[in-house]
């Protein structure tokens, strides 16, 4: 009830649609890198292309310097969810896209890829470019987000690029029942700063594991610096036997896999170098692989998240140094 009311309040007292709203600088947290803007107008090469109250978000699509951004508003802050460079869609404008490409050192030739959380679809489109034969399924809760991805980010649906408009958890249940299998599953569903709790629990991660083909991997986009990060890591560790992490600072990309003997770092690096040469990624895959690995970068002792206990929205608000 409270959540529901809050949604109505956020929507009805949100910024003015006619553009007179000026965001308070420094308000909110810098999730997904907070968007900084001085004024919403058409000067200085900064345009607002879409401003819309959807069922779940206050969505904005803006364009500045040839780059389009998708933002969700929450608690007075704009959370940047997606960005695409119109002229060079493969040169990623957000750091975590690059980090997510580390998945291809672990699984260099995926035939099927699943995204939970579409956003602008930037990474889905890039993967479709590098792997034109791969089947790419995307699950997105908010129909308006999917519509914005198609209208402003250039996403095109087709036999190899599908968008399912449904809650991630519900669609995953269906996929499990249909016995679908994926080589790489990207978990990147955010609701303006935090992951909806039912997409974080051990039960959900277990159903994700059953969707993996042999040798498949799961890629999580997590935000360190908050109490919830350690809960997410421990929950993943309770389901998967192997865990790598890449990046630091604002986003950490965690790759999880099953199996007794994890691949040696040398062999991951060799794969990264080979695939980099073959695909000509715009990012430096070997450098990212060299920097990350099976690191000891979370607290291993503590509770995990389950369907019964998953206060992710509360934990997300507890900062850590």
């Amino acid at each position: 009830m409270k959540k529901f009311l809050l949604m109505i309040i956020v929507v009805s007292f949100g910024p003015n649609v006619n553009g007179s709203y000026v965001p308070q600088p420094g308000a909110g947290n810098d999730d997904q890198t907070e968007f900084e803007d001085d004024a919403i107008d058409n000067h200085g090469g900064y345009k607002v292309l879409l401003e819309k109250e959807s069922l779940y978000h206050y969505i904005r699509v803006t364009e500045s310097g040839g780059v389009r951004y998708m933002q969700f508003r929450r608690s007075g802050g704009e959370y940047e969810e997606s960005a695409i460079n119109l002229a060079h869609p493969l040169s990623f404008e957000m750091g975590y896209y690059s980090l997510m490409m580390t998945a291809f050192a672990h699984h260099p030739s995926p035939k099927s890829v699943l995204f939970i959380g579409l956003g602008g679809g930037t990474l889905s489109m890039a993967i479709a470019h590098y792997y034109p034969d791969a089947q790419i399924d995307n699950v997105e809760l908010d129909p308006d987000v999917a519509a914005a991805a198609k209208e402003f980010f250039g996403l095109r649906e087709g036999p190899r690029m599908k968008v399912y408009i449904r809650d991630g958890r519900v669609q995953v249940r269906r996929f499990v029942r249909e016995e679908k299998k994926y080589d790489i599953i990207f978990l990147d569903a955010f609701r303006g700063g935090y992951i909806p709790y039912h997409l974080t629990t051990k039960e959900f991660i277990e159903s994700i594991r059953t969707l993996l083909s042999p040798g498949g991997i799961v890629v999580n986009n997590l935000r360190p610096g908050f109490e919830s990060y350690h809960y997410h890591r421990r929950t993943l560790a309770s389901v998967f036997s192997q865990q790598w992490s890449y990046g630091g600072g604002g986003n950490v990309i965690v790759i999880s896999a099953m199996g007794q003997t994890p691949p040696a770092k040398d062999s991951l690096l060799a794969t990264a170098e080979r695939i980099q040469k073959e695909k000509q990624f715009t990012v430096d895959l070997p450098a990212m692989i060299r920097e990350g690995g099976m690191r000891d970068d979370y607290e291993r002792d503590g509770p995990i998240l389950t369907d019964d206990y998953a206060p992710t929205d509360v934990l997300r608000s507890i900062p850590r140094d």
Partner: protein, 189 residues
Amino acid sequence: MGLEIIGGRMLAPYFGSGVWVWGSVISVFLAALSVGYFLGGLMSQRFPTGRALALIIAAAALFLLPVALWHRSAGDWFASLDLHERWSSLLAAASLFFIPSLLLGMVSPYSVRLIARNVATVGTSAGTLYAISTTGSFLGCLLTAFYFILWMGIQHILYLSAGVLLLLAVWQFCVWQPPSSSQCQEQCK
């Protein structure tokens, strides 16, 4: 209200956290409360005793136990029916929350009947009871959302609610006496 807050969280693993889930939970509670108010009024006319009210509260507490024990299987089962999420979440919410919230809805009109002594003061009695009842809802809502969800799992929140209700029922059954009743005052002496 506390139940309502965790209601959405109980259903999310099966039906997601879309607007339908919250809509289902809230509308089931409102429908059940409406029926409860009505039935509570009727029953208070037939059995106007504090002990009957105690039994209603105890029944609400007992009905929370199967909810705590089987809400996962219920969610699973309704999700497997493969209806549209809208209908399956509404059915699941109804099966889990309708009876306990109906029973809790009966409490307010019942209490009005027990406390009211004459027509002149019935407005004050009803007003006081509404204030108490809504303050309870407010606390249940706030404590659950702000603290209980962080402190304990959903199952334990349900056990806690059932325990508190049961204590209230026992107190109502054994200790409570209707106020300013001349009969009682004589007996109590």
